[in-house]
């Protein structure tokens, strides 16, 4: 398959990239890992006259620990995020997402920014980004904005990024003590698969009162975008972290929060049932981890 002809731009700084994006706007696509965009270009699903590659901008592939948060550059690859000690220790659900995306070859190229901008409802890192309350950092020439991840996705393949903007990375608050998280993705096979359902859960409990004081549950592949399970979260908040309350929350996620469709990967009914199973399992493991934290 031949790639169509395009002009290739390889800026060395964010400023240079923003200038290009300002000048070229909708006539340019941002190239990060290329594991989706190059395929879409080959299949003629996407057309563009210009590619702006971000891979030579070192600042965009950094993972840095700040006081209360970490910064993950948009061009950090899945393999790189998986290797990061701070991610392995404090962001286990994100590590699981990165460990499970595509296969070992794809993970060496695919980036977290690309996974977010591609905005697939089934994206492997997206439920984790949602439950860690990530903030997307967007820049355009001379302007910056921060978008809570819950407002980032606007539809399948669509996000709130404007034509002159570039996603530079994410800021994730460091989870507090007595909190834990877990991610499970369900597919037809383990490797090189698009998820049928993927769920991530986060919970924090008060060791004094033994009640859940914060919880975030995110569902993938069961709506037009990855979504937060608001009713399930409300059902669990203030409850004791135990099997009965995890089950009650999972039932809310299954019945009220998800809106799956039938497709060749699975039926809506199967997806809905699995939302219940995976919500309960991820909450139970998140709590085990919270106890150990």
């Amino acid at each position: 398959m031949l790639l169509p002809m395009f002009e290739f731009h390889e800026p060395l700084s964010i400023e240079e990239a923003l200038e290009l994006k300002k000048k070229l706007g909708q006539n340019a696509r941002i190239l990060a890992g290329g594991t989706d965009l190059l395929v879409h270009l080959k299949k003629k699903l996407v057309k563009t006259d210009n590619l702006i590659s971000l891979s030579r901008i070192k600042a965009l592939s950094l993972i840095t620990e700040q006081k209360d948060s970490i910064f993950i550059g948009a061009c950090a690859t899945m393999a790189q995020i998986s290797r990061s000690p701070v991610i392995a220790k404090k962001f286990t659900a994100l590590k699981s997402g990165c460990d499970n995306l595509g296969n070992h070859l794809i993970r060496n190229r695919a980036t977290i920014g690309g996974n977010a901008c591609n905005a697939s409802p089934a994206g492997d890192t997206l439920p984790a980004l949602l439950i860690y309350d990530s903030v997307a950092l967007l820049e355009s020439y001379g302007k910056k904005r921060e978008i809570p991840i819950a407002d980032f996705f606007t539809g399948p393949g669509k996000s709130c990024i404007q034509p002159d903007e570039i996603l530079t990375g994410f800021r994730l608050p460091i989870p507090t003590d007595h909190s834990g998280a877990h991610y499970i993705q369900l597919g037809k096979r383990k490797s090189s698969e698009i998820n049928v359902v993927n769920v991530a859960s986060f919970l924090e409990y008060d060791p004094g009162t033994k009640k859940v004081i914060t919880t975030r549950i995110a569902l993938g592949s069961v709506a037009a975008t990855p979504i937060r399970a608001a009713r399930a979260e409300a059902a669990l908040l203030g409850q004791a972290p135990e099997e009965a309350s995890f089950f009650a929350a999972a039932e809310m996620a299954r019945r009220e929060d998800c809106r799956p469709i039938d497709d060749f990967r699975g039926t809506a009914g199967y997806r809905q049932a699995m939302v219940g199973v995976l919500t309960k399992r991820t909450l139970a493991t998140a709590y085990e981890r919270a106890k150990g934290a």
Partner: protein
Amino acid sequence: MKKIISLTINDQSHEIAVEPNITLADMLRYELALTGTKKGCDTGDCGACTVIMDGDVVNSCLVLAIQANGSVIETIEGLSTDEGLSPLQEAFVEKGAIQCGFCSPGIIMSAKNLLDKNPNPTEDQIREGVSGNLCRCTGYQKIFEAIESQRS
């Protein structure tokens, strides 16, 4: 417009003028006649085009040649020496891990990279380490045994 890139392939430096829309796989095959690197799906699903780029395995069909400017690339052609095949390649022959051979260069590059990074991988790590490489002939068990035999 063509751009001149310089890169190291199997310990040899090259300067090549490439169009921006040429992938690394196509450059290796059609510009340098390194046809050991195969093209199966051309969309990053099969792993036949696996090469090692700056120490990590990648699908060379999903890397633009121009993105490999300044990189160090290892392909299947770099494995054998004047004395013959590398021990890993020999193991593939001996264990019957090759039938039609189309996936072999990619799988051997994945296996080499795995063993370079982790000389003593577990069973799961071996399976994970070639999980992006499809084989339609052998059913993978012989491939697994060939890699397993090369553990230190």
